[in-house]
Subunit: 212 residues, 2 copies
C-alpha cells in the first residue's frame, strides 16, 4: 500500500510528516536524476529536502527504502499505453517507450536505479515486482483489444504477451549490455505479435509445473 500525502491510513495525514514525505520523495528523484544510483547518499537527500538525516533513516531505513517508496509513489501516476491500430505496432510503441526510458537522462538514471536497488534489498525488489506487475497489467489492455479484434485467439495470456515483447529490450540493456536499435524493437514486436496470432500464448489447462 502506498502512503502519499492523502493517505487515510496514516495517523496524521496532511501534517508535518506528510510534508516531509513529499519533500524527501522529490529530493530523492531529483538527486537520482542528477547523480545516479551509485553516487546517491542519504546525507545529500536529507540536506536537499530540509529533513534531518536521522529522520530519513528512521522512516525509510536507507537508500533502498527510499527507492522502494518512490517506485510505489510512481505507481500511482497516470499512465496508459498508446493505441496505434494493430497489435504489432502497439508492441513497437511499447518497446520504444521502454528503450527510451533507459536512453536519456534523467529518466535513464531512475530506470537503472530501480532495477539496481532490487539487487540490494528485498524491500526494493518487492516494490519493483509490484510496479512491473502494475505496468504489465495496464499494458495488457492493448492485447485484450487485439484479441477482441481477432488478431489473437481467445484465452491467450495477455500479460504474458506484453512481457514477451519487452523482454528482449531489457535483456539487451541489462544483461547483454549492448545498445538497442530500431531493428531489435521491431523484431521483438514482430515475433511476439506473430506468436500471439498463432496461439502460442494460449493458457494451458494443466497446472503450472513447480518453479525452479
Amino acid at each position: 500500500m502506498s502512503s502519499t500525502d492523502s493517505d487515510p491510513g496514516s495517523a496524521r495525514p496532511g501534517g508535518r510528516t506528510a510534508r516531509n514525505t513529499a519533500a524527501v520523495m522529490r529530493a530523492t528523484l531529483d538527486e537520482l536524476g542528477e547523480q545516479g544510483y551509485q553516487r546517491i547518499s542519504v546525507d545529500r537527500i536529507a540536506s536537499r529536502s530540509g529533513v534531518h538525516k536521522a529522520t530519513v533513516y528512521r522512516r525509510w531505513g536507507g537508500v533502498e527504502g527510499l527507492l522502494a517508496q518512490a517506485l510505489d509513489w510512481a505507481s500511482g501516476w497516470h499512465w496508459e499505453p498508446v493505441r496505434t491500430g494493430s497489435l504489432y505496432t502497439d508492441l513497437i510503441s511499447l518497446n520504444e517507450e521502454v528503450a527510451a526510458g533507459f536512453a536519456v537522462a534523467p529518466e535513464r538514471r531512475i530506470s537503472y536505479a530501480t532495477i539496481a536497488a532490487a539487487f540490494d534489498s528485498d524491500t526494493a525488489a518487492e516494490a519493483l515486482r509490484a510496479y512491473m506487475a502494475d505496468r504489465h497489467r495496464r499494458s495488457s489492455v492493448l492485447v485484450a483489444e487485439a484479441v477482441a479484434r481477432g488478431e489473437a485467439p481467445e484465452g491467450s495470456d495477455i500479460e504474458e504477451v506484453v512481457r514477451a515483447s519487452v523482454a528482449p529490450i531489457y535483456h539487451r540493456l541489462l544483461v547483454c549490455r549492448e545498445p538497442v536499435t530500431e531493428r531489435h524493437i521491431h523484431q521483438a514486436a514482430r515475433i511476439t505479435a506473430d506468436a500471439a496470432a498463432a496461439g502460442a500464448f494460449l493458457i494451458e489447462d494443466h497446472p503450472d509445473h513447480n518453479p525452479l
Copy 2:
C-alpha cells in the same frame, strides 16, 4: 584480456603476484557464494586470501573490479551447450541452464552478483558484456547446426536466436522479480524455435538504424 596464473602478458608470471591473484579470486568467489553481493567486503576477501587489504584495493580497485576480473577469469573455463537433437529442445536445455544458475546457492549468488556489479561500475559492465557475448557465441553453435539440418533458413542471425530464447528468463528473474516455471522455459523455447523456422531472424540487407 585475462591475467591468470600463466598469463604470458604479465610482467612476472608464476610469481607471488600470480599466486596472490589466484588466492584472491578464489576467496572472492567463495565469499560471494557464502555472503552474496550485498554483504561482501574487501576486508573479508583480503583476510581470507591472506593478501593485504591495501594490495587488493591497489590491484582491483574494489569489489566491482574483483567481480569483473572473476567474470573474465570464468570466461576461460570450458563450457559447451548440450545437444538434444532439435533446436526446440536445445533451447529448452539452454533456458533451463540459465534458470538453474539463478536458482540454487552458491551459484545463484554469483549470478546475481555479476549482474548487480554491472550497475555499480563501468568496468564490471564491460566484463559482463564480454562474458555474455562469449556465452552467446558458444551457444549459437546449436543454432548453426539447426540451420544445417534445415530447421531454420540460411542467413539467420544465430546469436540473436539464442538471445531471444533466454531473454524472457532473465526478464522474469531480474525485472519482473517473479518465479520462472517450466512453462515459461518451454514457451520461450517454442516461440523462438518457431520464429527461427519462419525466418524471423534473417539478417536484413539494409543497415541497422541508429541506437536510441
